[in-house]
């Protein structure tokens, strides 16, 4: 009884004391929520929504269902073997009459043309012709086949059936050099049409080599920046940051001037008699690496530098006083402590590097084009936003996979510099 009373008393005492501390904590939490609210809103608007939209575009497939709803419904009920029933032909004729001359028919034509080249013209021709037919004499199957013999081919209908559902794997499959055949089986694309897997491999490889080169050049430089006398180090720092502040286009074009056949470097080499004929230094992989390393180097140096600045020189002195050779001390003491910086620098350089397309298109050759080139090409030039999004989604998946792997190995917190 007494014990209970005392417990109650304690509880009452606590609760009597609690309100001010609780409310002040709640207030503090409220303030911090309000403080990050703009950031969350910003990220949602400019990052999460567009990204989600992009991912959705990669599978979205509303064109055919929107323009030709009747025949799209017929296609859902059809087995896909041989030719569809008369009802499908009749629905197609009805849909084409209704959609004639409207933008949605153009969009459906574009979509169907991806499945089978020539579909655009076929639909345009058929839509024009069916308007003249009020009542088909021998049924729509005969009428449509008379307008164009392709309506009598199973492949034409198989393409329509594949393009009818509201979601499609078409773009993602294409981005992986795969095709779905008329029977629904997934096959590799014909050899002369395979292009995106090679490009993706090349993109990742170029990103990897660039990162490695940046690390090899950037690590000693970052070390020099922390150990050199202040005046000299700040001059060096400006040299590192100068390209960072220059326009990407200017930097890239400058490399063309330096490296081209009648450029500065070749002129110097020939005049000094080091080479007889000018070297091929640009419009190939070499030129691309030079330009990319130049642009990405600050992204490697700055994270490493920030970590190195926090490492007290007394650690190395301690390892030396304990009898370690400077090389051993470097490997066992200094290097492990710089790893978070190295990890962050590598990840940043790689992720930015694999997204490049202006630089490869300017200083690279035909064999040096990266995935982003095709993303930009499909997004801007041909307005094939589905394929553009699918390529983007696959590139994003590769980077996420890499991030997860590195995160598992080093720890996400260490990469972000939190730990």
């Amino acid at each position: 009884m007494t014990r209970m009373a005392s417990t109650t008393e304690t509880m009452a005492g606590t609760s009597a004391l609690a309100p001010p501390s609780l409310s002040s904590r709640a207030k503090a939490r409220m303030v911090s929520v309000l403080l990050i609210a703009p950031l969350v809103l910003f990220l949602t608007l400019v990052f999460v929504l567009p990204l989600g939209g992009m991912l959705f575009h990669a599978v979205e497939n509303g064109e055919v269902g929107g323009a030709l709803p009747g025949v799209a419904a017929e296609m859902r009920g059809w087995t896909g073997e041989g030719l569809p029933p008369e009802a499908a032909y009749a629905a197609l004729a009805r849909d084409l009459k209704a959609a004639y001359g409207e933008p949605r028919l153009g969009e459906a034509s574009r979509r169907l043309n991806y499945e089978r080249a020539g579909y655009r013209a076929l639909l345009a021709k058929t839509a024009r012709a069916v308007r003249a037919i009020d009542r088909p004499q021998a049924g729509w199957t005969a009428e449509l086949t008379a307008i164009d013999a392709r309506w009598g081919e199973p492949a034409t209908w198989a393409a329509l059936r594949r393009a009818s559902p509201s979601l499609t794997p078409y773009y993602l499959l294409t981005a992986l050099d795969l095709r779905m055949d008329d029977g629904g089986a997934i096959l590799r694309a014909p050899a002369e049409e395979r292009i995106y897997i090679d490009t993706l491999g090349r993109t990742l490889w170029i990103g990897f080599v660039t990162t490695l080169l940046c690390l090899v050049l950037g690590f000693p430089l970052a070390h020099a920046l922390v150990s050199l006398p202040r005046g000299f180090a700040s001059v060096l720092m400006v040299c590192v940051l100068l390209p960072f502040w220059t326009s990407l286009l200017v930097r890239t074009s400058a490399w063309i001037v330096v490296l081209q056949k009648e450029g500065v470097l070749n002129g110097l080499l020939t005049r000094l008699g080091i080479v007889d004929a000018p070297l091929e230094l640009v419009f190939n992989r070499f030129g691309l690496y030079v330009a990319m390393v130049h642009i990405l180097l600050p992204f490697m140096i700055l994270p490493i530098l920030s970590v190195m600045k926090g490492i007290s020189p007394s650690y190395m002195r301690a390892s030396a006083s304990l009898g370690a050779h400077p090389a051993v001390g470097f490997l066992k003491v200094y290097l492990p402590m710089t790893l978070p910086g190295v990890g962050a620098g590598c990840l940043m350089t790689f992720i930015i590097g694999v997204g490049y397309y202006i630089t490869p298109s300017l200083v690279g050759g035909a064999r040096d084009q990266m995935t982003s080139y095709f993303i930009a090409y499909y997004a801007n030039t041909t307005i094939n936003w589905g394929l553009s999004s699918a390529l983007g989604a696959i590139l994003l998946a590769c980077i996420m996979l890499l991030y997860a792997t590195v995160g598992r190995l080093i720890g996400v917190g260490r990469i972000a510099g939190i730990q």
């Binding site: 409207e102 933008p103 028919l105 153009g106 969009e107 034509s109 574009r110 043309n113 991806y114 080249a117 020539g118 579909y119 655009r120 013209a121 345009a124 002369e192 049409e193 395979r194 292009i195 090679d198 490009t199 056949k261 009648e262 035909a366 064999r367 084009q369 095709f374 997004a379 801007n380 030039t381 041909t382 307005i383 094939n384």
Partner: protein, 352 residues
């Protein structure tokens, strides 16, 4: 510092408040028009022949913009209902697909003029032919005295060794490859629509591949021809004539020129549609078009305009009857159907 900043903001606000009503009134008084070209010397010529005279004659406040032919921006404007362009210079295939997908307004041809006065290619549901350009073979006469006469000669690296310039697109390059392989002009597209024809075009390109230097912007072939990096090149005819006018001696070999038309079009939902239509009608008049080739050597779409062109200038135009007879007109409908597949195969072929 803070005080200073506050003062600047205050001034800016005051200026904004004072000028706001004045700005809001102006659209009612003067008509506005935003025309969009492809930039560079082409737009300079358009400015001198079409833009300024139209603005002066009809008291329209004309604003210019330029773009690189990418339809994504037009698509975004139309989709979001914020169309800031009124007249647009577009390529044939963009016009065709854009027209089908509702990116452009339909043209009222009765307001433009008599359709019979124009070349057939100038007519489109959503556009009016602005000028005619051509992808033509060229070489430096100061380096080669007896030059190539056909695309078959262009492929002849034994007789004329050295690099050749071709545009880095399947469009026009595949036609040229078939012409070089001996396909008659009239059968190029019939053949290219078949898988065997496409294989034949790529096989033809295979033979020249080691000697090709690809170009992307129209200025490149001229620069490379001048520097001797290529001995002959496919190039836009207007650029070649412009180079000749500044002292070069580049020859134009018209046999097998691939002919294209650029159009004026009005984006769907353009704010100044009526003014845009008046501009297009103005730019289609024969006496206005006749002045265009003296600024840049592109052909005219209004046949009557040919009469007003200086004969010396007319000889170097793709629409000159003698040159026109040797042309392969670009088949836009073909490229609308097969463009994406062929460009992907072309990119794949090039990277191997």
């Amino acid at each position: 510092m803070t005080l200073h900043a506050t003062r600047i903001v205050g001034c800016a606000l005051a200026v904004g408040l004072l000028s706001g009503p004045a700005l809001a009134q102006s659209p009612a008084q003067t008509e506005h028009l935003t025309v969009v070209g492809a930039g560079g010397v082409l737009q300079d010529a358009e400015r001198a022949v079409f833009f300024r005279p139209f603005a002066d004659a009809s008291k329209v406040q004309l604003t210019e913009d330029s773009y690189s032919g990418q339809m994504a921006k037009v698509r975004a404007m139309v989709d979001t209902g914020s169309v800031s362009w009124d007249v647009l210079q577009v390529e044939q295939n963009s016009l065709l697909s854009g027209c089908e997908e509702g990116l452009f307004e339909k043209i009222d041809w009765t307001a433009v003029g008599d359709r019979k006065e124009f070349i057939d290619e100038a007519y489109s549901e959503c556009g009016v032919g602005a000028f005619v350009w051509s992808m033509v073979m060229t070489y430096d006469r100061s380096r080669i005295a007896d030059g190539p006469k056909s695309w078959a000669d262009f492929w002849n690296v034994q007789r004329w060794p050295g690099k050749r310039g071709l545009r880095q697109t399947a469009k026009m390059t595949l036609e040229i490859a078939l012409l070089a392989d001996g396909v008659p002009r009239g059968e190029v597209y019939k053949l290219l629509a078949t898988p065997a024809g496409v294989d034949r075009a790529f096989a033809s390109l295979d033979r020249l591949k080691p000697d090709i230097l690809w170009w992307t912007s129209g200025a490149e072939p001229i620069e490379r021809l001048a520097s001797g990096d290529v001995v002959m090149s496919a190039a836009f005819n207007g650029r070649v004539t412009a180079a000749n006018q500044s002292g070069r001696t580049f020859a134009l070999a018209w046999n097998g020129q691939v002919l294209g038309v650029d159009y004026w079009a009005i984006p769907k939902g353009a704010k100044n549609r009526a003014t845009a239509e008046r501009f297009i009608a103005f730019a289609s008049r024969p006496e206005v078009q006749a002045r265009f080739p003296s600024h840049i050597a592109y052909g005219v779409t209004n046949r009557k305009a040919n009469l007003g062109i200086d004969p010396a200038l007319a000889a170097d135009l793709p629409t000159n009857p003698a040159n026109f007879a040797l042309a392969v007109p670009l088949d836009t409908a073909f490229w609308a159907d097969h463009g994406e597949a062929l460009e992907a195969r072309f990119a794949n072929w090039r990277s191997r």
